[in-house]
Subunit: 167 residues, 2 copies
DNA sequence: AGATATAGTTATAATAGGTAACTATTTTTT
DNA sequence: AAAAAATAGTTACCTATTATAACTATATCT
């Protein structure tokens, strides 16, 4: 406030309400990270609504789908697969186990690790959720044609799948 | 743990290390939200690295760019533009002001609001940052051709720009 | 047997994000 | 012109996410 370093003409006060509610034309519109964040915000909002009824968070959904696809997957596998940290997996699986959707089974071969399995309830739920998630995606991307939607998915995969060294 | 409800064959312990570190072939790969999150994770990681030297967070960068583009923008304008909440803007501008990058000027016309301006330092920094951000985007999306990158950006904009009612 | 590595866990901290309530102003209504 | 309502910004608070470090129990290596 006491800084005297000024640029434009600070004493000349902000004009009307003439300021934009979009960043149209701004360099920001060219930034991939910004576009990704905004798009993700929108898609996740739809997802949240779709899952509210079942009180399922994005990470829980992802976990359920992976466990369904690979019954007996270990927690460290899950961490790698979803690229989240082991401590995060613990609370994730805790929440699923508490709700009777999944369960840990101590591995006989290596008694340090747990295989994660879906319960019958979990299996039934994940089937339902997959349908809801697909519907939610469609709603969130109504502005895209079917071809564009596929294109977008392909491009996104291409971005995150390239494991240079990170991730 | 005491749940007796089982699905696959939990007693049969998890197989080797035969589990995947990708979700290849899984329904998850078809989910837009998942793809967006993973891509964003990657792009943001590069961005963080690029900005580390200047200790600038994504939201700070976005704010700086918007202020540069619309000198005298008010905090509520900024909140709308970036679709973040007013309280978030407060701490954002605080951090920029403390570092001498931006400053608030009480508006004469409407003394409730502040116009936000960049200082000379802020202007110089944002110029530098824009270059770094562009470079970071390119690095994060090495796997894309220039055309694909443009395509991706266009598609993402199309997703988040369609204001049906949300956002 | 002893050293080292791994799977999972706990505790903890940093941060993002959002809600509610408050102050100072301005605008609207009567 | 006074009272009521709306607005800009702020503060306090609360929750969820994410990362880090340290601990345990098992397993592997030499």
């Amino acid at each position: 406030m006491t800084t005297s370093k000024k640029t434009s003409s600070p004493e000349q006060t902000p004009l009307e309400e003439a300021y934009p509610t979009t960043v149209e034309g701004l360099v920001l519109e060219e930034r991939l990270g910004y576009a990704l964040r905004r798009a993700q915000l929108k898609v996740f909002k739809h997802f949240d609504e779709a899952m509210r009824e079942h009180d399922i968070r994005p990470a829980q959904f992802s976990s359920l789908v992976v466990i369904e696809g690979y019954p007996g997957v270990t927690q460290s596998n899950l961490a790698q697969t979803l690229s989240i940290d082991p401590p995060r997996v613990v609370s994730l699986i805790n929440s699923l186990e508490e709700r009777g959707l999944a369960l840990r089974v101590r591995c006989k071969r290596d008694r340090r690790s747990h295989g994660i399995f879906l319960t019958k309830t979990g299996e039934a739920l994940v089937e339902r959720l997959k349908g809801l998630a697909e519907q939610s995606d469609l709603e969130a991307t109504q502005s895209l044609s079917e071809i564009e939607r596929r294109q977008l998915l392909t491009l996104l995969r291409k971005v995150y799948a390239s494991e240079e060294s990170d991730d």
